[in-house]
Amino acid sequence: MTETEKQAALGPDAASAAPTPRRRRRALRLTKRDRVLLIVLLGIPLLADLAFVWFPAVTSVVLSFTSWNGVGAIQPWVGTQEYKFAFTVDPQFWPAVLHNIIWVLVFGLIATPLGMLFAVILDRNLKGSRIYQSVFFLPVMLSLALIGIIWELMYSQNYGLINTLLGRTGSDAINWIGNPDLNLWAVLVAASWRQVGYVMILYLAGLKGVDASLREAAQIDGANPWQTFWRVIFPVLKPINIVIIVITVIESLRAYDIIYIMSHGTVLPGLELLSMLVTQYIIGQTTRIGYGSALATVLLVIALVPIIIFLVQSFRKDEKA
């Protein structure tokens, strides 16, 4: 056995064996070389994880208890003052939280179900199904920043496609990005345009993986297509459903680039998002690192909730298996 073959054999084996009780017996049988290899293979990603994920995360939590302005030594320590400022004083904080929630709701209640619907329809082997797949998937291949630019041109008040199509090019032109009652929805349309394709492709992959005999069995039992989907296929797709829920939440919380492009980097009224506020305070002329870190911590805590739910779910499943 050559070195590479051994490595290849070891990789997946070690990973899949991790949670089972058999692991201990096997670990004893490992040669010294195997053990070194294991330590190296696990150690490097662990170090990277600590350095690039945990260190910055813990640092920003620590910084959030200061009102450091980014110059010189890190001080002064102000306890929870910055959090109090966010919750009680900052007029942009609660709108930002609200907009993040609206984002989750629109993605969760409109974009994601729409993507699922497209996937189910395309799964029925329609004529030209691959063309449709490509069309819906195309936006996913573009970065959100690019999507921001495309839609900014469409929404432009004086030169945009949408106002031209609506025939409102004069003084009655609709200000899609500037109007604080409209702009969040305008951006959500653009973001959903991409999200639909993303969910569709994930769900389609899940549907292709469903055993065809399940469908046949359901049909033999006399289930109609609606019942077949909801009673048989949907429960089988539980893992992919969890993935999609988590992706929906995470994509909503990390929404940033598309807004940044459309608002040219400033926090526009109506488009306040936690991520925008974080950068506003941390990357600016006179920085308030302490306050920005407090906002980042709030966002981190919110983001941890779906991640923890997901991890608990998937580990529980592994234990049962």
Binding site: V53, D90, H264, T286
Partner: protein, 445 residues
């Protein structure tokens, strides 16, 4: 699309790992933001330059000022023999990263703004005092320019290159055609706005997407109603934002709002200028550095462009004050080539150097007494006059106050006001501004 096999990949394994990756990436991106500030985005060119050469960080990223700046550095090299390596950064990026830039590996000299906006960084020890440079160039400048160039400790920190007035622009042809007259009082201006509206014109072109242009309107109404001293006190938070005089400013501004181009928070000022160029708008209140410069950029008819000083509101102050921001150059505390950099600053502080800069600049004006600029156009000649006529000039809201407070907090409040100029909004933004100012100004000073 390669077909089915793409979508038939084993589901659970791949996607779960993907999700974990996503989760990690998301957590990382939230958490890592504070650290970003630690990395300098500034130039990497500093370091290896030998004696007699310096690096110069420039935010003159738009084509026209960039070429004017190029002329200046060439003239400086010719006169002093110091080689200058220019590092141009997009101006918004430059400004937003200034703190980390100055703490990292800054260029020797860098472009910056006069007034409090410079003093904040000088107080934090990020800018090197240049009193010895001013010993040599002091005689070239009027006292007003000297005052602008000093930090709160009384030392000099910046050599100004030009300034420009904030005034009301209009197209001569529009005024001639419709028989409009230049308003000198608030009431005359409101009457003119009404007339323009009935003629199908937008009285005031307005774009506030960048967050700062509307601060100029706040400034001028404040200066006209409450005077220069009050403006400075308010900017430094020595007067509370809940003061009734601030309410007066917003109320006056609210009278003007029906005549201002709607939807301003979603329009960049460049597009607002284009409305004026297209003669769809009658007037626009902004700096020559923006309006006239945009006319040049767009190849619009600069000869048709003219301006008047913002009308009087309270006869106590008349038209005594205006915003006339000055830009200039500072020496970074961490500069590596201090002596040649000071030589260049000494050269820049001469009328000759300002004239070299302004050769291709058709909107700014020199500050030096001895600047002889034969290339001045009508706008620039008038600019010199109106600035001279002022008893005192303010810099700008985000230059006279804490820039972060101005650009984030006051700008957000003003955006709110623009979208709903009602007494209720005014009251709520005043108390919100005061609450935030308390935190910002006690935390830092």
């Amino acid at each position: 699309m390669r077909g089915q096999s793409n979508f038939g990949a084993p589901v659970s394994g791949v996607s779960r790992r993907d999700v974990l990756k996503f989760g990690g990436a998301a957590a990382l991106s939230f958490a890592a933001v504070p650290l970003l500030a630690g990395c300098s985005s500034g130039g990497s060119s500093g370091g290896s330059s030998g004696p007699g050469s310096i690096t110069f960080g420039s935010n003159y990223s738009d084509p026209a000022p960039k070429s004017a700046f190029g002329d200046l550095t060439k003239a400086a090299t010719k006169s002093t023999g110091v080689k200058i390596d220019v590092n141009t950064v997009d101006h918004n990026t430059f400004q937003n990263n200034i703190t980390s830039y100055l703490q990292g590996t800054p260029n020797d000299l860098f472009t910056w703004f006069a007034g409090y906006r410079m003093q904040v960084f000088a107080d934090q020890g990020l800018i090197e005092p240049i009193d010895d440079v001013w010993d040599k160039i002091g005689k070239n400048f009027p006292d007003s320019a000297k005052a602008l160039s000093k930090g709160t400790d009384g030392h000099y920190y910046i050599v100004p290159i030009y300034n420009y007035p904030w005034v009301v622009f209009y197209n001569k042809s529009t005024f001639q055609e419709k028989g409009y007259e230049i308003p000198t009082t608030w009431d005359q201006m409101i009457t003119l706005c009404k007339k323009m509206q009935s003629d199908g014109l937008i009285p005031f072109a307005f774009g506030q997407q960048d967050g700062w242009p509307a601060l100029g309107t706040f400034d001028i109404i404040n200066l006209r109603l409450n005077g220069f001293e009050y403006h400075m006190k308010l900017m430094q938070h020595k007067v509370p934002w809940t003061d009734s005089k601030v309410t007066d400013v917003f109320n006056k501004w609210a009278e003007l709002m029906p005549y201002v181009q709607p939807g301003a928070t979603g329009r960049i000022w460049q597009d607002a200028v284009k409305t004026l160029e297209a003669k769809k708008a009658g007037m626009m209140f902004q700096g020559t550095n923006q309006v006239a410069a945009q006319y040049v950029t767009d190849n619009a008819d600069l000869d048709d462009l003219d301006f008047f000083v913002y009308p009087e509101i309270d006869p106590t102050w008349g038209q005594d004050y205006m915003d006339a921001p000055a830009d200039g150059f500072c020496l970074a505390k961490k500069a590596k080539n201090v002596d040649p950099a000071k030589k260049v600053l000494e050269y820049i502080g001469t009328g000759q150097a300002e004239a070299a800069y302004l050769k291709n600049d058709k909107w700014d004006v020199a500050l030096a007494n001895d600047a002889d600029v034969p290339s001045y156009n009508a706008i620039q000649k008038k600019s010199v006059e109106v600035i001279k006529a002022c008893k005192n000039v303010a810099q700008f809201l985000d230059r006279d106050s804490d820039p972060g407070f101005a650009d984030n907090t006051v700008a957000a409040a003003v955006d709110k006001f623009i979208n709903s100029p009602t007494p209720a909004t005014i009251k709520s933004i005043q108390s919100s501004l005061e609450a935030q100012a308390k935190t910002v100004f006690t935390a830092q000073h």
